[in-house]
Symmetry: C2
């Protein structure tokens, strides 16, 4: 049976399930133990949020979810590095890149006011809007995923989730919309050309199109600044490559593929424009968990 | 004074204004007569919606707005073609490409249940999410703009605007999110390579990233189909170029720049994949108003 993405027939958002077997039988979450259902090849189709990791955060409409592995279930402490190729983690990374919808199921636990009082609840479809690595409080590398709930699904919480995160509220909105006044200024400095490849996108009526890319992302959890030293003018291809972790910026301001750290271009800079190494290192760390 | 984009200091969403002079003095809408404030070079910073054109539609959270020119104010009929280089129209096209926020002001008129009972009301910031040409009912070319209200602004209508347009609800959401199951299938047919240039975007962990592009857009007003004959696998650059009217597809399935219709590439097709000429012609017509 091919992996199914989306809400299965006969299942509705908000539906309660007795146990993992019940979830399995309804096709909501197939594995009986793993929290993530998925593989790097296909993507992840569902996750169970059950408060097993100290770095998890549940805000209702969005969730910070810790990847799989290296965790001692008794103490909830990390005892080893997590791997980006472990199937659950690789599945969520693939889901982010492919834009696959992920079913989110909450299990009863104390850590979240959105969790059901008992058993499991299907919370609907979310998108993996961000993925990054960090060295967790126990000194080992973990992977974190941000999932945002897709719009136009049934409201299932009695109170409206706090929207305490306006800066990030735009994260799932298009790159064009996320543009700030400063990013428009940066693009104009370069006449809408890409600082990596020099390319641009012709738009209607002899106009050119480029994108302002924040190296260290705005909003939680990254809390980057909307400042000139954190913005590049990029073509959509290099913007996507930077956002999706296929490219990092090295200390000599060359652009390198993440997998081998081999530089493929030197960034072009206007005389009045610099970005700081701190921002480049922060972005690099997200993917390598090393500076 | 440089053109100001955004809500001026001291003005709040929902604020009432007596007349055009009052709007001018508060920096909400500077021209005293024109409906669109803007130029092709700088973009458009504000528009007044006052029901002057028969093709206008006001849905509260989104608006279909007719461009400037060729209209007889007495009869409200079109008597000439509209021009994409007229400053208001060029301004809104630039705002779309640059992602500039546009102040929307509604004047009292009978055509919209969101219009104020008298004078003018500042409705907040909107983004130009779409722009296209068509031959209107009077036989002349007009330009139409779709504007979508930015999130996280004050609610100013007593009733919640009808969300009668779920397919288009996602138009302002990122291209990644707009992916459908079929567009993922198309991207996989081409191994995440662009049918125009053969390129791809490297993402984290040896993955490749491409985008599924609907030639005739889903949702209103275009009502394209989510079907294999309407989807291309494109790199983000060529997707943006197609979306922003910098590229059209000719009848021999070559890609051409819109301004001169000179082909620069032949689309690559997998043996099991075809797109229909109707969809390519529909897209071309949006920009040229000629088949």
């Amino acid at each position: 049976m091919p992996r199914f993405f989306g809400t299965p027939d006969g299942v509705h958002v908000g539906q309660q399930f007795i146990d993992r077997k019940d979830l399995h039988e309804h096709g909501v979450h197939r594995p009986l133990q793993a929290g993530i259902s998925g593989t790097g090849k296909e993507g992840a189709d569902s996750i169970v949020v059950s408060g097993g990791y100290v770095d998890d955060e549940d805000h209702g409409d969005f969730i910070i979810y810790t990847g799989h592995g290296g965790n001692d279930p008794k103490t909830r402490r990390q005892v080893a590095d997590q791997s980006p190729t472990a199937s659950g983690n690789a599945g969520l990374i693939t889901s982010r890149i492919l834009g696959l919808p992920v079913r989110v199921i909450r299990g009863a636990h104390r850590g979240s006011s959105f969790a059901p009082p008992y058993g499991y609840q299907y919370a609907g479809l979310y998108l993996v809007s961000d993925a990054w690595a960090k060295v967790g409080r126990d000194g080992f590398r973990i992977f974190l995923f941000r999932l945002d709930r897709l719009p136009d699904q049934a409201e299932i919480w009695t109170r409206r989730p706090a929207t305490s995160d306006p800066a990030f509220g735009t994260a799932t909105i298009s790159r064009r919309i996320r543009d700030t006044a400063l990013s428009r200024e940066v693009k104009q400095m370069y006449n809408f050309r890409c600082q990596v490849c020099g390319g641009t996108v012709p738009a209607f009526g002899e106009r050119l199109y480029a994108e302002g890319a924040h190296i260290r992302a705005l909003g939680r959890p990254h809390l980057g600044h909307d400042s000139l030293d954190n913005i590049l003018s990029l073509c959509p291809n290099h913007h996507a490559q930077l956002d999706l972790g296929g490219m990092v910026i090295l200390d000599d301001f060359s652009a390198a593929t993440t997998s081998d750290l081999v530089p493929f271009a030197d960034l072009t800079f206007a005389s009045s424009h610099r970005v700081t190494l701190e921002n480049a290192r922060y972005h690099r760390h997200l993917w390598l968990a090393v500076a």
